[in-house]
Subunit: 255 residues, 2 copies
């Protein structure tokens, strides 16, 4: 079956998009057909592949509000098995448009179910979420079966984890009983930093933390300015290698 | 007159809260009576002063939705002239509660105008915004006269600047004609990083960029875990000194 994984954390700047872009790319190069849904009005996952969201004809906004099908909006990337459903700035207004609809929390889920009935079959769908716990993120948590939580090992990020877990538990209890946390990916990790060690230890006591830890690596922040994931920009870099290792770990998980 | 400054950028993790906490503290030690309004449901600015938002009796949420006055919710800090109006987790739901109200965009402005009529007079009010361009941030932009934009010198953060400027221009044209950008504060700046130099150069061509650049400094990320701003945690640190310099620059601006 297709694995649908939301990449979520309401704390800003923890590496959600960097993880979504580089993990999706790393999974796709392992010959798995992969869709990356950019569900953030900022459109960073789209521009991480060189897609200019201002000029996009059809986006996930049109699937959410306008009734277009995901298969109509997805675009190919430089990586054979990887496709992107781009964001658009209109997503910023989607929250207020969704709130009046009966099915406001299940619109993305309905779109993904439709997508899964079509051909060709996809192996993985990743959803990059915005830094809030609003209706966009709720839609992603309802549509997904697993949540991957990127976490920067800093105090504010650790503090936000309980709010995120609370929201995941509420979605699981009401709208999506099969939702589980797949794991926590430690990002921008610097082992020389005491605080990082403490946060990592604390988190490992309560959650599954992936063995592949993503180091702080400047090549990861340079790659998006070239519209490429790190494995196309500099595959030997520590950042690209870390995401390839994370992909291997994810691929080994039996769903 | 009291200066009301919103600290806003929808890009996550660029240093909004770190700037709000440390700038407010640095302004207050210059003997200016200062209020920091925590307008982010994450409540990081509150916890940056050791305030646990889950246990807070009254918060900015009660001012926005419940009709409490800001003077009823503000709490003192270890710094004489500095007070915090704490956030609460309920703020996460405020967006959907505000949307039905006629005055949904001007609730915070009304509260601040009421606050300014009371005694004692305050010199500065800073508003820490969440990482979105939702009704909470709109309320802050309507209530403020100036916007201070923390910017991490990275590709995604630069890309988001035009969306932020567009929103500021729209608020200025419709709801708050006196709104201006006060300046851009470069945060987590590492001059050895080429991308950072390029982004800084690009931004300086279009906006006022404060001379005081905030370096990446681990003491800034450690301080919140002690519930203190950096100038109480380690005043000699490069981070604390950079925010004291930024405060001097802001104090010199004639409003
Ligand atoms: N491992 C890393 N090493 C170095 N830089 C990184 C790393 N991961 C992310 N970055 C950079 O840090 C910044 C924040 O990362 P990113 O934008 O992916 O986070 P996010 O959680 O998606 O942010 P938002 O909350 O705004 O959606 C970006 O400029 C990115 O390029
Ligand atoms: N100059 C700095 N040097 C080192 N670390 C910093 C610096 N500024 C901020 N940080 C750390 O980086 C992280 C992001 O900063 P912060 O939370 O202030 O950003 P933000 O824009 O308020 O995030 P959000 O979008 O979630 O509200 C925090 O863990 C903070 O401690
Ligand atoms: Mg992102
Ligand atoms: Mg913040």
């Amino acid at each position: 079956p297709t694995r649908v994984i939301a990449i979520a954390n309401q704390k800003g700047g923890v590496g959600k998009t960097t993880t979504a872009v580089n993990l999706a790319a790393s999974i796709a190069v392992a010959e798995k057909r992969t869709l990356l849904v950019d569900f953030d009005p900022q459109g960073n996952a789209s521009s991480g592949f060189g897609i200019r969201t201002q000029n996009v004809e059809k986006s996930v906004y049109d699937c959410l509000i306008g009734g277009a099908a995901l298969r109509d909006v997805l675009q190919p990337t430089e990586i054979g098995h990887l496709f992107v459903a781009p964001a658009s700035p209109h997503l910023a207004g989607a929250e207020l448009e969704l709130v009046e609809l009966e099915d406001r929390a299940t619109r993305l889920k309905a779109q993904i179910e439709l997508f899964l009935q079509g051909k060709p079959r996809f192996d993985y769908i990743f959803i990059d979420c915005p830094p809030t716990l609003n209706l966009l993120t709720i839609n992603a948590l309802v549509a997904a079966e697993r949540v991957l939580v990127p976490l920067q090992c800093e105090y504010y990020a650790l503090e936000g984890l309980s709010q995120l877990i609370g929201t995941i538990d509420r979605v699981k209890a009401t709208l999506n009983p099969k939702l589980e946390i797949d794991g926590i990916a430690l990002t921008m990790y610097d082992p020389r930093n005491n605080l990082a060690l403490q946060v990592a230890e604390e988190v490992k006591q309560h959650f599954r933390v992936y063995n592949s830890v993503i180091p702080r690596n400047v090549r990861l922040s340079e790659a998006p300015s070239h519209g490429k994931p790190a494995l196309l920009y500099d595959v030997q870099s520590r950042g690209a290698q870390a995401y390839l290792a994370l992909a291997r770990e994810i691929l080994q998980t039996k769903s």
